[in-house]
Structures are given as structure tokens and as C-alpha cells.
């Protein structure tokens, strides 16, 4: 017990000389997925401090907090997350934070539930990959702006202007994408990927979406799943299947081999960004760039 007291004493001394400082009075915002980080950056720009927990290529289903994340969360004023149980245990933690001084905002909860795609796997019974519907992402944008204005009223005009600008960009994105997809005949719109992240994308643009692993990347694909999907690909005479940046390639490669073994040639059409954006600084590192890249990759490979 003496040892314990000693430790406590050491801690007390250490902590007293090293207290938290709020950096230059800016709002500290913590975000989870790279899509949300990019969105908040577009609205808050340099008038807030943004700390994204997940980097590019990180799978939100399997995310593990590191030591650095502790400090980010401690200093957070507002936390924006996807919710709908996308972020696993983090969602649980955020839900319990309600009573503290931090404001956790589940953006996915803003969407009208009746329009969401149901799922058996997720606790909320909804497919959480909502960012592939640009209309939903616009709702995210509006919510983020509203929260930032509420927390930091003196910059209200600035946030509002950024919101208008970003919504305009999203509208343009919607148009370019629709135009691009129009060039692909309707019967060729079949998307085979590693896991079921593209249901909202498929619903909006008329694609039939088949994921090898189901909604969560935590579950593994069985041998039977691979064989069934291989038969499906041959039946539909598909030209290409796709790998995802945040999911290991090996399951899709197994699928490709299974199809090739049955005498049908199927290509890997490219890497799609599903649960995370590309590296920061690249075009695919932004939500808009990622969406355009995905659509171009899909359309060019299936044509």
C-alpha cells in the first residue's frame, strides 16, 4: 500500500506542473473516420483544431485506440462520429460521454431512419456506410455546421459561407458522377467487392452490389461464399471485381482464382476506397476526390 501512495504522490507532482492548455482559444474537434475528418476540415478550415482518430487505410470496424488518441479525446470539445455502430467500441464510449463537458455528435443518427438500409448484423439494424449517399453527406454537412456555429458563435458567418461553398461542391459532384455512370449500360452495373460497403451507392445509382464478407469486416468469408459468388460472376459474365483499401486483398484474390479456375477471365478492376479515404494530400484523400476516383474506377473497369 505504501507503494501505491508513493505512486499517487509522484503523479500528483508530475501532473501539477503539466496541465492542459487550450490552444489559442480555438475549438478542439475530434473526428473518427477520414470521411468525417475531411468534411469537418471543409467547414471549420483553420478556425478550429481538428484531430482525426483514424488515418487513411484504417478499418473503422477494427480500430484500436492508441496512446495518442487518449490526449486527443481528453482535449476534445466536440466529437463528430459516424455512429450506427460503425466505430465499434468507440461508439459505446461516446454514448457514455453525454454527461461530460464534451459534445459527442453521431452524424449517422441525423438521417431519417426509414430511408436507411436495414441489416441483420449491426446492433442498430442499419447499414452504417451512409457516406456513399451524397444526400446523406449533405445532411452531415448541415449538422456539422450547425454544431460548430452553436459552439463557436463568433465564427458563425465563416462556417455558414464554408457550408454553402461545400454544398455547392457536393452538388457538382452529384452531377459529374451521375453523368459518368450514365455511360455504363444498366445491365453491366454489378459491383463485386470485398465487403458490403456499397449498398447505398448501389441503391442510388442502380448497381447490384455483392460483398464477399458481409457488412462487417470482422466476419470471414467461407469457402461456400467464394464458390457461390464465383458462379454468380460467371453467370453474369462480369469483367471485373474490386479490392478495397481498408480490407486485405487476399479474399478477393481467392475469388478471382476461383473464377479463373472455372474458365472465365475476371480482372481486379482496381482499389476502391470504402471505409477510409486515401492518403492525406492526394486527390483520393478528400471525400469528393475519393468518390470521383471510385466511380471512374468502377465505370472504366466494367465497360
Amino acid at each position: 500500500m505504501k507503494k501505491l501512495l508513493f505512486i499517487l504522490l509522484v503523479y500528483a507532482t508530475l501532473s501539477s506542473c503539466n496541465t492542459n492548455k487550450k490552444e489559442n482559444g480555438k475549438l478542439n474537434v475530434v473526428t473518427t473516420t477520414t470521411m468525417i475528418t475531411d468534411l469537418v476540415k471543409n467547414i471549420g478550415k483553420d478556425s478550429i483544431n481538428i484531430n482525426g482518430l483514424m488515418g487513411s487505410g484504417v478499418d473503422p470496424h477494427l480500430y484500436k485506440a492508441s496512446e495518442g488518441d487518449v490526449t486527443k479525446l481528453v482535449n476534445a470539445d466536440v466529437i463528430f462520429y459516424n455512429g450506427l455502430h460503425l466505430e465499434g467500441k468507440l461508439v459505446e464510449v461516446f454514448e457514455k460521454m453525454g454527461s461530460s463537458t464534451k459534445t459527442p455528435i453521431a452524424l449517422g443518427e441525423e438521417i431519417d431512419k426509414s430511408t436507411l438500409i436495414g441489416s441483420d448484423y449491426f446492433a442498430s439494424n442499419y447499414d452504417p456506410h451512409v457516406w456513399f449517399n451524397i444526400e446523406y453527406f449533405k445532411q452531415f454537412t448541415k449538422k456539422v455546421t450547425a454544431v460548430l456555429i452553436e459552439k463557436d458563435a463568433k465564427n458563425a458567418k465563416y462556417y455558414k459561407a464554408n457550408e454553402t461553398e461545400y454544398l455547392a461542391k457536393l452538388n457538382t459532384l452529384q452531377k459529374t458522377i451521375t453523368a459518368k455512370i450514365e455511360t455504363l449500360p444498366k445491365d453491366k452495373r454489378i459491383l463485386v467487392t470485398a465487403h458490403d460497403a456499397f449498398n447505398y451507392f448501389g441503391k442510388n445509382y442502380g448497381f447490384e452490389v455483392v460483398g464477399l464478407q458481409g457488412l462487417s469486416t470482422a466476419t470471414e468469408a467461407g469457402v461456400k461464399d467464394v464458390q457461390n459468388l464465383a458462379n454468380f460472376i460467371i453467370e453474369k459474365q462480369l469483367k471485373a471485381v474490386f479490392v478495397e483499401s481498408s480490407v486485405p486483398k487476399r479474399t478477393i484474390e481467392a475469388l478471382q482464382k476461383a473464377v479463373n479456375a472455372k474458365g472465365h477471365d475476371v480482372q481486379i478492376g482496381g482499389t476502391l476506397y470504402s471505409d477510409a479515404l486515401g492518403s492525406a494530400g492526394t486527390t483520393e484523400g478528400t471525400y469528393i476526390g475519393m468518390f470521383e476516383y471510385n466511380v471512374n474506377t468502377i465505370v472504366n473497369a466494367l465497360k
Binding site: V70, T71, V74, E92
Partner: protein
């Protein structure tokens, strides 16, 4: 350092102490594997408790999990008693069976609850400070800190109350029984404490770190002392040291905290394993080298004793005759000279009186294997120790 960082280190340190106490006895009883078994087989208990209460922090979970822990031990011993398989095989049979029951229960019924195998095994220490315990509107600290604090308090109370019984039944089961307390009760008591500690800690640090914190500090302490109280204290010290240094390793690398603590535990064990004064690898190597030299010395002295002829005792002849390499011959010669066992006159080696008695005694010992005569030589020579 902010309050969350302090709280994480505090939780990790408390877990380390709470684990070191049962861990020390498990290592001494050669039952380290059973802690691994318990950490996995408590899963069905946790799952069933969760189904009943719908709350991962309910005390019922701890009770049920402790119960499955004890069931594990009972089953292992039952299988072992049949004499058909050994203890490690029995452990290997029991815990995967219980663990998989838990996995199936989760897969079948808990798809829509946030209880997955991954969380049970790895835990999430980084998020522990954000799950606060709020009593009538006042925040009194992280929940896991309270849970593990209470478990630690119970463990320490039990340790102090039953220290003598634990000590005797660990080292001499027969004596314990004849002194009137049942080794079986102590045994199951210890198993219950291990189970409770594992359950209390699993939500914060995960089962793997619990096993590491039970075994590694105790095993490290075991290399350094043969005194039970010292071993307990050292195990706690190594546990706390790894918890805190592991935390700062994670800080440096911006990595998983539980992973870094386990790494530190491994590194500390490795360092002690290599450099421990008596049982360490380097100490053992040195001792073996000394023993080899001493065997050579004895051969050399015997040769001198058996030959009175001057030519047989010439320095150059000895080299040829016993066929040693120069270096080795020199070491042996120096060792003998240092101990005043020989004298060298004009390159002729002769035994001194001391050397003569030493040789006779050593030969006697080797023939009769009684060590009463060589008690006084043990201090100077490794050869006659143990």
C-alpha cells in the same frame, strides 16, 4: 500529463498488483497455464451474465465468471485424476471447450450487443478513463479504477489473512493437511481469486494482458529470490514498472497501450533471465566454465599425487601428458598456485600439504558421495555446490 493519462497508468498499476499476488502463487505451484485457461474459459460466464443483466459492469458477471473459472479448475482436476492424460493436456481439453461455448453463445444470441471476442481478449485500456462512475451527479473516477481497486483490496485482505496457510500449502501439501487446514480449500480459494481478478480486469485491459501480468512479473521475481515475501514484493514491483514504462513506450510510439505493457514485461523478463545473479544465463555459463576448470584442476592434482617421479611432474611433460591446450593448462596451474595447492621449483611441480589433503578429500567425496567433509570447500569451489 493530463488526468486521463494518470488514470490509465493508475488502472494499469492496480491491475498489475492485483495480478501479481495470485500470479506469484500460480508460478510457485507450477500452475501458470491455468491462468491462461481461466482467462479464456470465463467467457461463457460473462456472456450468460450479460444476457441476464444487459450490463457489462454488473457484479453478477464477476460472480458467474468466477464460477466458470472454478468449474474450469474442477474439470481439469477431474480429467487429470483419471490418470489417462497429464495436467497440461487436461487444461488444453477444458478451456477451448468452455471458450467456444462462449463464442457460440455470442454468435447465436449477441449479434446485436457490443460484446465481441476481440474486446474480451484485447480490451481497450486507452478508452478506460472515458467510462466514468457517476454517483448522485458527482463524477468519482473511471469505473474500471473502482472495480479493480475493490478486487485488489479483497485480494490483499485475503493474502494477509491466509498468508501462512497459502505459504505452507504451496510448499508442502502434506504438512498443510497435517496442520489441520485443507490444501484443497486454499487451492480453490486461490483459483477463485484468480478468476475474479481476471474478470475484473478483462474489460479494461483484456485477457491477454491479465495473463501476462499474472505470470511474467512472478516468473521474473522467481529468478531473483527464494523468499516468498520478497518474491511477492518483486513481482508487484516488476508489474508496476512494466505498466508505467509500457504506458510511456506507447506514448513514444503512439501505439496500443496493452501491447506496449506486454512488450515491457517480456523485455524485463529477458533482461533478468540473462543477468540474474544466480539463476541468470550468464551466471550459469560462468559457473559451468568454472566447474570445468575445477574438474581439470582435480585431474591435475590427482596426477601429481599418483606420480612421485620428477620427470612426470615437469611442466612441459604435464602439458603433453594430460594433453591440455596451453591456455587451459595455464589457468589450472594458476588456480592451483593461487590456492597454495602446489609449488613449482625449477619447472618441477609438487603438491603442497594443503593440495594433498584437498585431493584426498575430493576423491573421498566422489567415491562415497558424502559431503560432510567438504563443507569448507564449497565456498571456494562451484564444483561441490549442489
Amino acid at each position: 500529463m493530463n488526468s486521463a493519462q494518470i488514470e490509465i497508468q493508475l488502472i494499469a498499476s492496480l491491475v498489475a498488483i492485483a495480478c501479481a499476488i495470485p500470479g506469484t502463487f500460480l508460478v510457485l505451484r507450477k500452475m501458470a497455464m491455468i491462468s491462461d485457461a481461466i482467462s479464456h474459459s470465463i467467457l461463457p460466464g460473462i456472456v450468460v451474465g450479460f444476457f441476464i443483466t444487459q450490463d457489462l459492469n454488473s457484479p453478477l458477471l464477476i460472480v458467474l465468471a468466477a464460477l466458470t473459472g472454478v468449474i474450469t479448475v474442477v474439470l481439469v482436476e477431474y480429467i487429470q485424476k483419471t490418470g489417462l492424460v497429464k495436467e497440461d493436456t487436461a487444461i488444453g481439453l477444458v478451456f477451448p471447450a468452455l471458450f467456444s461455448i462462449g463464442v457460440i453463445l455470442i454468435a447465436k444470441n449477441a449479434n446485436d450487443v457490443h460484446l465481441d471476442v476481440d474486446a474480451v481478449l484485447v480490451g481497450e485500456l486507452a478508452l478506460a478513463p472515458f467510462d466514468r462512475l457517476i454517483v448522485s451527479g458527482v463524477d468519482i473516477g473511471p469505473k474500471s479504477l473502482w472495480i479493480i481497486g475493490i478486487i485488489l483490496l479483497i485480494t490483499i485482505t485475503l493474502l494477509i489473512a491466509f498468508f501462512k496457510e497459502l505459504k505452507v500449502s504451496t510448499f508442502d501439501k502434506g504438512l498443510a493437511a497435517s496442520l489441520g487446514f485443507s490444501p484443497a480449500i486454499i487451492h480453490y480459494g486461490l483459483m477463485t481469486v484468480s478468476s475474479v481478478t481476471t474478470v475484473g480486469a478483462f474489460d479494461a485491459v483484456g485477457a491477454i494482458l491479465v495473463v501476462a501480468l499474472m505470470i511474467a512479473p512472478a516468473a521474473t521475481a522467481y529468478l531473483l529470490t527464494t523468499n516468498l515475501k520478497k518474491m511477492l514484493a518483486l513481482a508487484m514491483f516488476f508489474g508496476i514498472f512494466s505498466a508505467i514504462s509500457g504506458y510511456w513506450l506507447a506514448h513514444l510510439l503512439d501505439a496500443s497501450i496493452a501491447g506496449s505493457i506486454t512488450t515491457m514485461l517480456g523485455l524485463i523478463f529477458l533482461a533478468v533471465y540473462l543477468f540474474a545473479p544466480n539463476k541468470g544465463v550468464i551466471a550459469v555459463m560462468y559457473r559451468e566454465k568454472q566447474q570445468r576448470t575445477e574438474v581439470s584442476l582435480l585431474t591435475f592434482l590427482l596426477h601429481l599425487k599418483n606420480h612421485n617421479e620428477v620427470e612426470e611432474r615437469h611442466v612441459n611433460h604435464l602439458r603433453e601428458h594430460i594433453n591440455w591446450q596451453k591456455v587451459r593448462a595455464k589457468t589450472v596451474l594458476e588456480l592451483a598456485l593461487k590456492n597454495n595447492m602446489i609449488v613449482v621449483n625449477n619447472d618441477i611441480v609438487s603438491l603442497t600439504k594443503k593440495g594433498d589433503t584437498f585431493t584426498s578429500k575430493a576423491i573421498d567425496y566422489i567415491i562415497t558421495n558424502k559431503d560432510a567433509q567438504i563443507e569448507d570447500m564449497k565456498d571456494d569451489f562451484f564444483l561441490f555446490r549442489g
